[in-house]
């Protein structure tokens, strides 16, 4: 998001040093984007065909009770004031109460989010470990069979519905081959055995030394994580390939070869060094996409994460939970976007 119009905002603060001006402009962008996100979710909440008052008091309440709750919820105030109250609540971590679970949405999300984080992190790791070397080799051996395979892998990844691939994966690796465990996060015998520390089961069981639980959890997570990993692999390898092609065509690569450096050194010591920053940006974006992509995957694998939380709430007309989940994922998404943008500007001298 390197904006040409960001400089317009900077112009109003002429007396400040450039780094401070840039930081302020970025902060203003973050604030505006998140405020916009809140505005959209707020408006979605308002146009819902569900009466928020009836959702709280039930259908058999008297008119007086209805009016009282109506005022309590602040629905008699102007829309702009209501939005102000809403923003204030969200900033203080108050997304309201979930109708479905009867608990604070924020505590619900804190409970389910580590499961999604665990899945998306393992998925990104798989994507990076396989995707980066594949992209580099595809660029170096351009046009070779390995380049064709990389292209094919990417094309399939961009064309296949993730929820369907998940089902087929379950059918083959769980139903037919029995290599992995079925849906869910951990087998029934191991449920609640490990006292949570981070909420991420693999980490917790390793920290507590419960290796039986660790093995079982790993057997459950590996299929959905590989699935997500495949999608980030498709994206990461394609981007790595095009970044590397750009570098390999540069003159310094020829110079390095003429100097007599080994091919390994030319590729990894010179060309790859120069794409590291771009690559980190891509990986950050892939990670953000996986957080979102996990919604459908979580449904297939009965994974108790935020994606499943949002969709289950959606089908139960539990709007507070849906919007709370949307805000959390949206904010993380915005955060990662801006982080990768900053990183790029900070490390790449050409962007200054």
């Amino acid at each position: 998001m390197a904006d040409s119009y960001a400089s317009d905002e900077g112009r109003q603060l002429p007396s400040l040093p450039p780094w401070l001006r840039k930081t302020l402009a970025t902060l203003a962008t973050v604030a505006a984007t998140i405020l916009g996100l809140l505005f959209v979710t707020f408006m979605i909440g308002r146009v819902m065909p569900i009466d928020p008052v009836l959702a709280v008091i039930g259908e058999r309440a008297t008119q007086a009770q209805y009016d009282e709750t109506f005022r309590e919820l602040g629905l008699d105030k102007p829309l702009l004031v209501q939005f102000g109250i809403y923003v204030n609540d969200v900033i203080h971590g108050d997304f309201g109460t979930s109708i479905r679970t009867g608990q604070q949405v924020s505590s619900d999300i804190a409970r389910v989010f580590p499961a999604t984080l665990e899945l998306a992190t393992l998925g990104t790791l798989i994507g990076v470990i396989l995707g980066v070397p594949l992209g580099v080799v595809a660029a170096v051996r351009r046009g070779s069979w390995i380049d064709q395979i990389a292209r094919f892998v990417g094309l399939i990844g961009y064309s296949m519905p993730i929820f369907w691939l998940g089902l087929v994966g379950l059918l083959v690796f769980y139903g037919m081959l029995g290599w992995v465990a079925g849906p869910g996060r951990v087998g029934i015998f191991y449920q609640g055995v490990v006292e949570p520390i981070t909420g991420m089961l693999l980490v917790d069981s390793a920290l507590r030394g419960e290796w039986a639980v660790f093995r079982d959890a790993f057997s459950h997570i590996i299929l959905p994580a590989s699935l997500l990993g495949y999608y980030s692999l498709a994206y990461i390898s394609r981007m790595t390939r095009s970044f590397m092609l750009e570098q390999l065509g540069a003159e310094y690569v020829t110079t390095a070869r003429v100097k007599g450096l080994s091919e390994w050194n030319v590729i990894w010591g010179h060309a790859f060094r120069n794409i590291r920053i771009q690559l980190i940006t891509v990986i950050a974006l892939a990670y953000a996409n996986l957080l979102e992509g996990s919604v459908l995957t979580e449904i297939i694998f009965a994974w108790p994460g935020i994606g499943q939380y949002i969709t289950t709430s959606l089908l139960a007309n539990d709007m507070n939970s849906v919007l709370g989940g949307t805000i959390v994922i949206g904010t993380i998404f915005v955060g990662i976007n801006i982080f990768s943008d900053l990183l790029y500007r900070f490390f790449d001298p050409r962007a200054k």
């Binding site: 296949m160 369907w164 087929v168 139903g175 849906v322």
Partner: protein, 305 residues
């Protein structure tokens, strides 16, 4: 006959066109020749043509009524009793449902492909042409939408609007327009201060006329490439919404919804969920291949090779 087609070919490939019509037809023909040499893109086009024909002639090609239930013939394997792809949990013929489902997928893609780029085109050209605070405001809004996770936002929209095909289209369009706005703005910025726009303005053209008659036509080709490349994504999002029960409603033979219905039986009756998935895969792969090929023809500087 042979000499005649030869003559047409030579006329199309002439280096010195004698009329505007010849020049433009010649450009189209050369583009088609480039496109035709791309085997994968032709394959994509072929698959798409087959799918579109299947959708149009679904009533003729279907072997059964796609909605007719037959509880005596539940979950038949492919090939049994004249059911090419077998039957689902209510005994409906999967092959016929796939054919009718193609209509829904194509309908959704066409609607989104008309709505989203149009919104993007309007926002982008107005921002780029007006400049100043209008530009800052519109592009900030675009950035906000661009920074959203698309599927989650579409989910929230559908939740607010209610489930259904039209609302799914609206939700996908609302999340899909920002990239088009960015492209249209970038194109407009390169044109805004060019001589031909100044000339038109001196002739007395108003802003509306300049934007709609002179800037819009020149934005179209980059938007078309982008739309074609996005179509697979649109299909996958629509299928995802259908799978979650937020798109087309039962008994509609929408492919995503069919996978959702077959999900329960995946371990024992694999075909119920697998075959609609293959259909989704085929159509989005075809759009991806076609998009890559079109990009090579219309926008050689961004080519993959």
């Amino acid at each position: 006959m042979t000499t005649n087609t030869h003559g047409l070919r030579d006329w199309l490939l002439s280096d010195e066109p004698t009329s505007r019509r010849q020049a433009s037809l010649s450009a189209w023909y050369k583009g088609w020749l480039t496109f035709r040499s791309n085997t994968l893109a032709m394959l994509g086009l072929g698959v798409l043509v087959v799918l579109i024909l299947a959708a149009i002639f679904a009533p003729l090609l279907a072997s059964h009524d796609p909605f007719a239930q037959d509880l005596g013939a539940r979950l038949l394997a492919p090939g049994v009793d004249g059911h090419l792809f077998g039957t689902d949990s209510l005994g409906r013929d999967i092959y016929s449902r796939i054919l009718y489902g193609a209509r829904i997928s194509i309908y959704i893609v066409l609607l989104v492909a008309m709505v989203a780029p149009l919104v993007g085109l309007i926002v982008g050209t107005v921002a780029g042409y007006a400049g100043g605070w209008v530009d800052v405001l519109l592009m900030r809004i675009t950035d906000i939408f661009l920074a959203f996770p698309r599927l989650i936002l579409a989910l929230a929209f559908v939740a607010a609007l209610g489930a259904g095909i039209e609302n799914a289209v609206l939700a996908i369009s609302l999340t899909a327009w920002p990239p088009y706005a960015r492209i249209a703005r970038a194109e407009t910025l390169t044109m805004r201060n060019s001589d031909f726009i100044h000339a038109i303005r001196l002739q007395g053209a108003g802003h509306t006329r300049i934007v709609t008659r002179h800037i819009w036509p020149l934005c179209i080709s980059s938007l078309v490439i982008r739309v074609t490349l996005d179509m697979a994504g649109i299909i996958l999002t629509a299928a995802g919404l259908g799978f979650l029960g937020l798109g087309a409603q039962p008994p509609s033979p929408e492919w995503g919804a069919m996978i959702s219905e077959g999900r329960k039986y995946i371990l024992d009756y694999w075909w119920v969920a697998t075959i609609p998935g293959l259909a989704i895969f085929a159509i989005s792969l075809a759009f991806n291949l076609l998009g890559d090929g079109l990009r090579d023809v219309l926008d050689p500087k961004e080519g993959t090779s």
